[in-house]
């Protein structure tokens, strides 16, 4: 009981700490003096001078999008080159070889889109050079791009008749300089103090009792893992993610890492309210997130604790499902980590997703297909939730007899087209690719399991790629041409259909006037609106996946209880 309470306490404390940090973030992106200004402002100004950036000139949303896309494209090319050439580049003490082209394309795009699709094992396949430069791309650049996008959207709500949305270079510089670098430097210490590995040594060679030889991997793990946690990449320095004792050595690191996963997304929610000058928005976003967070909990707890009835028949004691789980942790800790790690599309885990119960995987898929709005991937999660807000407000506004307005901005044709397109693209990218792969012989060949379980594996892989989560179930052979080449379109479509749509919406919101609050204004923080948003999340997004879930995890669950597994 104490342990359970401690976990909830960690979550509550994290959410409380998110408030002061969120206020700090808002100051950073408004360009107001903040705690770090004396230290970082000269550096910031120096960067602008060297790069020839006029920090006071702003861009239209189109220019902002063009700059962002151009920048991300360069990132992909850069990451592709590193991975393709890592075999001949320096800082490669244990002599790993270069990536095959399809593998490099996949990994480069997954880095840049903040998916961190781990089609490789970090400890086995990456040189120190690639780990570090990869980190540069995936842990500074890609989360910063997500970050600036949500900054732009939030800020647009407080603008009036304004043709511009901000300056990409300024926002981006601030994200890296004021957010990621200080945060990583501070938050890494608790990890290192607990013994998370941090060195530049070649892998240690151990001679086992049986006379075998084992490579013990090392490297600058802590500094990389910290970013993989706070940037919602999913910790994967070591192949076993947070189940690995070098990544997650003690119960304290287990708590810290969970807190880290939630901290930045929660702070972003606070920041949104400050930038939009609407405390209600923060309240509403938090409420919807918490409601969904609580709604997804019961099913995994029920499924995992109920366990596999087949094992029970074979006489296995207790029957709880401990397959694929790290024995250091209790069942409760596993389930909490699954929910906390997967809800914000982070992907860090202490369990093997391929071995969890079908209803648990159903819950995970649910969290993923609704756009991971529960705290959410940096930028994308809250943005997806704002897209839901737009659609909900449109219908709710009509029901109260007026053209709807969200946070003082009228919701009109343009916003509906954009938000609708975002939903259309994300269901298109995950459902269509899963369907295409599953009918192809190549797709069937990479599938490790048959029946509904195989369908679940495939569906999970593509929905996870679409939402830039990056997890997949172990049964799928991901380093194959078909998966390497079919997932990048999902990652691109999933990420940019959310981010770019968000910036486009920001463009039109900034141009609009502000509607004064009146008795007819439907406050976003009202419980009714929260309920309506949750309703829309279920009916518009989740229901689209109900047919495939029926013959995937649901069928698997029903077959399992009647005695068949896959």
């Amino acid at each position: 009981m104490l342990q359970e309470l401690a976990y909830f306490a960690v979550i509550v404390v994290t959410l409380i700490l998110a408030f002061p940090y969120g206020w700090h973030l808002a100051k950073v992106f408004k360009g107001e003096p903040n705690l770090l200004t004396p230290l970082l402002r000269p550096i910031e100004r120096g960067i602008y001078r060297v790069c020839g950036i006029n920090e006071f000139s702003e861009m239209t949303w189109k220019k902002y999008v063009a700059t962002l896309v151009g920048f991300e494209t360069l990132g992909v090319v850069f990451a592709f080159m590193i991975l393709s050439l890592q075999g001949v580049l320096p800082l490669n003490p244990h002599g790993v070889s270069s990536f095959r082209w399809d593998w490099a394309v996949n990994s480069a795009i997954s880095w840049v889109t903040n998916t961190n699709w781990i089609a490789y094992s970090g400890e086995r396949d990456l040189s120190y050079m690639s780990q570090m430069l990869g980190v540069l791309v995936e842990d500074y650049i890609s989360p910063s791009v997500g970050f600036v996008a949500i900054v732009v959207l939030a800020r647009s709500f407080s603008r009036k008749h304004c043709p511009t949305v901000g300056n990409f270079w300024v926002d981006f510089t601030r994200a890296i300089l004021y957010v990621w670098i200080p945060l990583g430097l501070i938050l890494v210490f608790p990890l290192i103090s607990q013994g998370v590995v941090q060195n530049f040594d070649p892998y240690a060679v151990a001679h086992t009792l049986e006379g075998g030889v084992q490579l013990i991997p090392g490297g600058p793990a802590a500094t990389i893992i910290i970013y993989q946690l706070i940037c919602e990449d999913g910790a994967n320095y070591f192949a076993n993610s947070m189940a690995h004792p070098f990544e997650n050595p003690t119960p304290f690191t287990n708590w810290f890492t969970m807190a880290y996963i939630l901290f930045v997304p929660a702070s972003i929610v606070v920041m949104i309210g400050k930038l939009a000058i609407s405390r209600d928005t923060t309240k509403a976003l938090f409420s919807v997130m918490l409601v969904l967070f609580i709604l997804v909990m019961p099913l995994p707890f029920y499924a995992e604790n109920q366990g596999n009835p087949l094992l029970e028949k074979l006489g296995v004691q207790g029957g709880v499902n401990m397959e694929g789980k790290e024995m250091r942790f209790s069942m409760f800790e596993h389930i909490m980590y699954i929910i906390v790690g997967m809800a914000p599309a982070n992907g860090s885990t202490v369990s093997q997703h391929d071995s969890v119960m079908p209803l648990t995987i159903l819950t995970i898929i649910f969290m993923v297909v609704i756009g991971a709005p529960i705290f959410g991937c940096i930028g994308e999660g809250p943005m997806a939730l704002i897209h839901y807000f737009i659609v909900t407000m449109f219908i709710a506004g009509l029901m109260t007899g007026r053209t709807p307005e969200l946070i003082g901005k009228k919701v009109e044709l343009r916003e509906i087209i954009l938000a609708g397109a975002s939903f259309l693209f994300s269901s298109f990218s995950s459902l269509m690719t899963t369907a295409i792969v599953i009918v192809s012989a190549a797709g069937m060949a990479v599938l490790g399991n048959a029946g509904p379980h195989g369908l679940t594996e495939m569906l999970f892989a593509f929905t996870s790629a679409s939402i830039n989560n990056g997890s997949f179930m172990g049964g799928l052979n991901v380093n194959s041409y078909i998966i390497n080449l079919m997932t990048p379109p999902c990652m691109i479509l999933g990420r940019y259909s959310t981010l770019l749509v968000g910036i486009a919406i920001a463009g039109s919101m900034a141009r609009k006037g502000q509607i004064p609050i009146s008795a007819a204004t439907l406050p976003v923080a009202s419980p009714l609106f929260i309920i309506a948003v949750v309703f829309v999340v279920f009916v518009i997004s989740a229901l689209c996946f109900f047919p495939v879930a029926t013959i995937g995890p649901i069928l698997e669950h029903l077959l399992m209880t009647s005695g068949r597994t896959f």
């Binding site: 109260t400 007899g401 087209i417 599953i438 009146s518 439907l522 009202s526 069928l555 029903l558």
Partner: protein
């Protein structure tokens, strides 16, 4: 006058609507409603499939039934639209016929006069207006001289002289000739064409979709596209687990999931909104205006005619010290006998009450002379036996008294101040050199206006009163009527500035106007209603015309606009919520044969896979005609706070939309089994 209310199902309208429902199946027409176009394609494919079954001797019973019901789905949707169109047109026609009360005396070339409806006047026609008649249309006086009361248009109560050849030759429709007879040449076509414009707006082909309707339509199309992806990808997924789904079942699933209920009824809702306006004798010149009316959050209202009855009424005499009430009443009556303004008449009425006089024709003594009101002296009166009796504004009377070296008694001045403070207009009566006392002229607030404004305020609408009165009077009237804000001593040009200022602050502004000087403000307002009795310029600048020229109509228009949007929102919620039940009907039907475990999803306990699919499709089709009355009459509307409106609609249409189809599909399934249709 309220327009004729058309019964929901009038046989000739229904007959035409049934015919039109089939005509609209023409793909070139049907594609305008994309959601239903998708259903039509589905119906077509299903029919082809059924025909194939017939030819190959397969089991065609199921396929044919599904095909028929899909066609019915499209036809029901088309019927709802055609019915709304038919009713709108019928309403417009009946209005056209009813426009007979405004008549004009047209002068023909031979000099003879014929009576025609005012709306039939054309540019260049000549008409004659006699004493006491309303001027039927805008024009120029070419013969005769008349005193014209233009207060309905300009708000100025003093009558003006209109005669040919001068700058005063223009007359305005809706104004009234108080005395004289003039012949007028029509300069602009009156608004008959507005009705034609209205009729064209309810016709499918020419109908312009409004911005909000288009946004909703886009959302529905987006959802349709998502469901097409869902259904198409289900084929390979099902194949993977060893289930093949027939085309007919796939089409059924798709049609059940896409928002056919709202998609089918959407056009009817918009047309019916315009028809409800017509029932209130309001002609909408653009659908945009109808929609904007729901969004209005600030209403500029002229005091006169909207909040108060047009004219002030004398309600009290306050005699000076030493003067009896009879004395002042007698003097006031004499001074007002020749004053034909409403105020003058109301003073006479009050005097009769006070003095207990009956009888219609009260004449002053022979040899008396009347002094008519002039704006310069701002007084009127009578001279009897060399005694001047005058009544007028406190200021003018004070000047009159001062001119003979006297001053108004303090008590009278105090009474004058009090009357003004309480929102009335004080008049002072003087006989010879003696101040007899003050008359209270009071603006009479329209009955029920306060409650009405209060209800509207719950919906978040603010009201600003515009008046030429001084701020003190304006504040008193505003307080009495429950108005939020007022603009006192306003000149017509103020309105435009005010609207711009409010719009800049993000308000949606409505106003009602009639005069030419209102035209710029009307053009600027988001919802602009012109009175039909107003000037041509005002009518052209507005987006709605009120045939009754009743300024309070603005409130009805706002309510209709809100009801229109609420109906759209409610039916969308209902339609989307329906999807849940359809999954539970069709998915077990598809998969439970191969995987009996999935039978647990068949929570309705539908008899067979065939009956389940058929029931879902039949329910989906029948819900459209079942909701036609709601679409055409609009959801029940009440003034309530935003949250309570949302709560009510979420429960009724959201929760109801979740639950009702479960019951409905089950009932249809029982029938299907009973009739052996499966």
């Amino acid at each position: 006058m309220r327009g004729k209310t058309t019964k929901l199902l009038e046989s000739d309208i229904v007959g035409q609507a049934v015919k039109d429902a089939f005509l609209k199946l023409d793909p070139r027409v049907q594609w305008r409603n994309l959601v239903m176009f998708v259903v039509e394609i589905g119906a077509f494919l299903t029919t082809l499939n059924a025909l194939g079954d017939v030819l190959t001797g397969g089991n065609f019973k199921f396929d044919i039934q599904i095909g028929i019901w899909l066609w019915f789905t499209v036809l029901f949707a088309n019927f709802s639209e055609a019915l709304a169109e038919g009713r709108g047109k019928a309403q417009a026609e009946s209005l056209r016929l009813a426009r007979s009360e405004a008549m004009a005396n047209r002068q023909l070339h031979d000099g003879s006069i014929e009576q025609i409806p005012a709306l039939d006047l054309r540019k260049g026609d000549l008409y004659v207006v006699n004493n006491g008649e309303i001027i039927p249309g805008d024009g120029e006086v070419i013969e005769g001289t008349a005193l014209v009361d233009e207060s309905a248009v300009t708000g100025e109560s003093a009558p003006v002289v209109r005669e040919p050849g001068s700058t005063l030759r223009g007359v305005t429709g809706g104004t009234k000739v108080i005395s004289g007879k003039i012949t007028v040449k029509v300069t602009v076509d009156p608004g008959e064409t507005f009705l034609d414009q209205m009729i064209s707006m309810v016709e499918n082909a020419k109908r312009q979709k409004t911005p909000n309707e288009r946004a909703l339509e886009i959302l529905l199309i987006g959802m349709t596209a998502i469901f097409i992806i869902v259904v198409v990808t289900l084929v390979p997924f099902a194949n993977y687990v060893g289930v093949s789904i027939s085309l007919v079942v796939l089409v059924s699933l798709l049609v059940c999931l896409i928002p056919t209920t709202i998609g089918g009824l959407l056009p009817a809702i918009g047309i019916a909104g315009m028809e409800r306006l017509l029932q209130n004798n309001v002609i909408a010149l653009s659908g945009r205006g109808v929609e904007a009316s729901g969004n209005v959050d600030l209403v500029l209202m002229d005091k006169t005619g909207t909040i108060t009855l047009g004219n002030r009424m004398a309600t009290e005499f306050i005699p000076a010290p030493g003067v009896s009430i009879e004395e002042i009443a007698r003097a006031a009556m004499l001074s007002s006998l020749a004053d034909d303004t409403p105020e003058g008449r109301s003073i006479v009425e009050l005097c009769k009450q006070v003095l207990g006089i009956r009888g219609r024709d009260i004449r002053p003594k022979e040899g008396s002379t009347f002094v008519p009101f002039s704006p310069i002296s701002s007084m009127s009166g009578i001279n009897i036996d060399g005694v001047q009796i005058r009544k007028g504004s406190a200021e003018s009377m004070d000047n009159l008294i001062k001119s003979v070296g006297l001053s108004t008694p303090d008590e009278v001045n105090a009474a004058v101040d009090r009357i003004a403070r309480e929102g009335g207009t004080p008049l002072v009566v003087v006989e010879g050199i003696k101040v007899l006392g003050a008359i209270r002229l009071k603006d009479v607030i329209k009955e029920g206006i306060r409650e009405r404004l209060n209800n509207m305020r719950k919906l978040g609408i603010r009201f600003v009163m515009i008046t030429g009165d001084n701020p003190v009077t304006a504040a008193a009237i505003a307080a009495e009527a429950g108005i939020d804000d007022f603009m006192a001593q306003a000149r017509p040009a103020f309105k435009l500035d005010a609207i711009r200022r409010y719009q800049k602050d993000g308000h949606m502004v409505a106003m009602i106007g009639d005069g030419t000087n209102d035209a710029p403000a009307l053009a600027q307002a988001d919802l602009a209603v012109a009175m039909n009795a107003g000037t041509q310029a005002a009518r052209e600048a507005a987006n709605m015309i009120d045939l009754d020229s009743n300024p309070a109509k603005l409130l009805d228009i706002v309510e209709i606009g809100k009801q229109l949007l609420m109906t759209r929102g409610a039916l969308t919620t209902f339609s989307v919520a329906n999807d849940v039940s359809k999954y539970f009907a069709i998915l077990p039907a598809i998969f439970a044969t191969s995987y009996p475990q999935l039978e647990v999803l068949n929570i309705m306990g539908l008899a067979t896979p065939a009956s389940a699919v058929l029931s879902a499709v039949i329910f989906n089709a029948l819900i459209i005609p079942a909701l036609i009355p709601l679409a055409i009459k609009g959801v029940s509307y009440r003034a309530a706070t935003t949250e309570s409106l949302l709560r009510y609609n979420l429960v009724v249409y959201g929760l109801g939309g979740l639950i009702i189809p479960f019951i409905g599909i089950k009932l249809v399934d029982i029938l299907v089994v009973l009739l052996h249709l499966e």
